[in-house]
């Protein structure tokens, strides 16, 4: 299951940032992916919320600037549901 979750996050990340999911390194972040700007970041949060039917809290939304952080938050939110 967690593998599938990782795959889904990468797929959303790839669609929003316009890169093939296979090319996204496990440590990808706003610093290393040039198309990951603040506007796309907002679309990314909205897209992840819709994908996993979760609600990412306000204080976290802006700070989820890397794939590891996204992974962590999605898992936490899914546990709470």
């Amino acid at each position: 299951m967690p593998d599938n979750q990782e795959e889904r996050i990468k797929r959303v990340l790839g669609a929003v940032l316009g890169i093939p999911p296979g090319n996204i390194p496990p440590e990808a972040s706003m610093d290393t992916v040039s198309s990951w700007d603040s506007l796309r970041h907002m679309n990314l949060i909205l897209a992840l919320e819709e994908e996993f039917h979760i609600s990412i809290p306000d204080e976290e939304a802006a700070n989820l600037s890397s794939l590891p952080l996204l992974r962590l938050t999605v898992s936490e939110q899914l546990k709470e549901v």
Binding site: M42, E50, A61
Partner: protein
Amino acid sequence: MKMNRSASEILADQASPLGEVMQALADWDQQSPNAQEITFGLSSNVTLGPLSIYLRRHAALCGVRLRVSESDYDNTLGDLDRFRRAGVAYVFCLPLFDNIQPAFEAQVASMEELELAEREAELRSRWRLVFESSRSFRQVWVATYHRMSPAPGADGDDPVGRAVRRFNQVLREEAASYPQVQLLDSAEVLACVGAPAAFDWRFYQRAKAPFRPALLDRWAHKLRVVSRGFGTYYYKVLVLDCDNTLWGGVIGEDLLTGVRLDPHEPPGSIYWRAQQEYRALERAGMLLCLCSKNNPADVDEMLRSHPAMVLRDDCLTLKKVNWDEKPDNLRAIAAELNVGLDSLIFIDDSPFECEAVRSQLPAVKTLQVPAQLAEYPALLQQVRELMLGGGVAAESASKTHEYRQRAAARELESAAGSREEYLRSLGLRAAVIRSDRARLPRISELTQKSNQFNLTTRRYTQSELAATMDDPCADVFSVDVEDRFGSAGLTGVVVVRYLPEIAEIEAFLMSCRVIGRGVEWAIWPAIIAECRRHGVATIRAAYLPSAKNAMVADYYQQLGLDPLPAEGEPCWFQASLDSWRPPEAPWIECQYHPAKAKFQHAG
């Protein structure tokens, strides 16, 4: 795991999550390299987030690839400048009342009247500048202001509501002078989603992005409707089945007393409501026709004698009540009305008939009355959106009367002796009117709708026409036609550009309602006179073939112009003004009004 779905299926599914929509859009783009392309500019005083994605989604569903120029933050004038340089055709402005100043809704409650009046004056002059500098766009849609906070109770004071209404009044007043600007009602779009699904306070605080995906998707839907599928359709004729479409039951079996059409009792009330809606569409200028497998006498009795019938004979342009196949009847309707099949919407309750029409006449938009009758009103809403789109110009209203006059004239034609005798008996009068601004909406509408008698199929927006009228080296002639049966209204348009030595006919089109009576010949002396006044010696005109205008392929040759030797399209024709004699139509009395004037009615 989800099934693998095609890009179009994902785009069409309202429930598809944003990530999948974005991937599907990328796939669709790749799979549709030849899709028609349209450019769209977005402007707002807040961040619009994924609106461009939803717009592209709705355009793709119409087969159109949208190139979207995004909004800068709160810089509409700068946006417009940028859009102009980028060649953008359509613009959508979505201003947020609450961000006119930070937390404006909260400020308004304690604002002095003087302060509010100053804000209002500043907004007025800013919108005027925006509208003024948006003349070059084909169309500019502006959303009205709306509130984010809930309205107070029924008897509570509501300073926010008052201020929103006041600022919207400013928008309406300023927009009124600009034909390219159309306001869209935010309250209506908001009501479709509901406030909780509409606003995202989290991103509004952090990124000035207040709108949730559900609301943005709804706006994209609205723009798809008002742009008539991003310019991909224009329906004018509504063809209706009878049994279980206009009333419950089968007239041939249940008889007048047995069919269900009671305004107060379901299921009759549902059909009665549908008839009300259809009549309202007819009043708005759409043509209603019947296409039903029935005995004509039964349907006629229903139309004449059933006390609850809303649609009567006088609302109907054509009735095809017989036992022929429906696709044949639909073809006949299109032929008799002189419109393309793609102008028709067909509604029937039978899945069998709907499928027959869908498969044989894919150009006709076919809609099935839902098996669950409670869903019928939703279908009617869809029909209204498809047909009325961005609203209609006033003179378009209630065309049925004109078309019926024409049908009456046809009957006379078969009775009269020679063709010319018949035409003389009509008492035809035409008026050629030069560059009259008051007629802009109807002229523009005619250029958008006419397909068959249209030499270059150039579509003009009102603002393009206004600019052409103002140009001293150009004229927009419009033609009114009337006969002893009544007025056919504005039915022809000629756009002329005066180049040195040469007058070029940039566009010539006529409504199919008046073709074949010689008006297409009778108007030229008036236009030649105007060309002479401009001192040109030669007239030149182009025929640009389209899928629908083959009927005018040899029109300019019949008019007496000589084809110019040239490869490819358009085909050019010209003649010297001194030697050119257009065919005459002595049975028509043609008046010319060089300045603004209305038709002079005799008697």
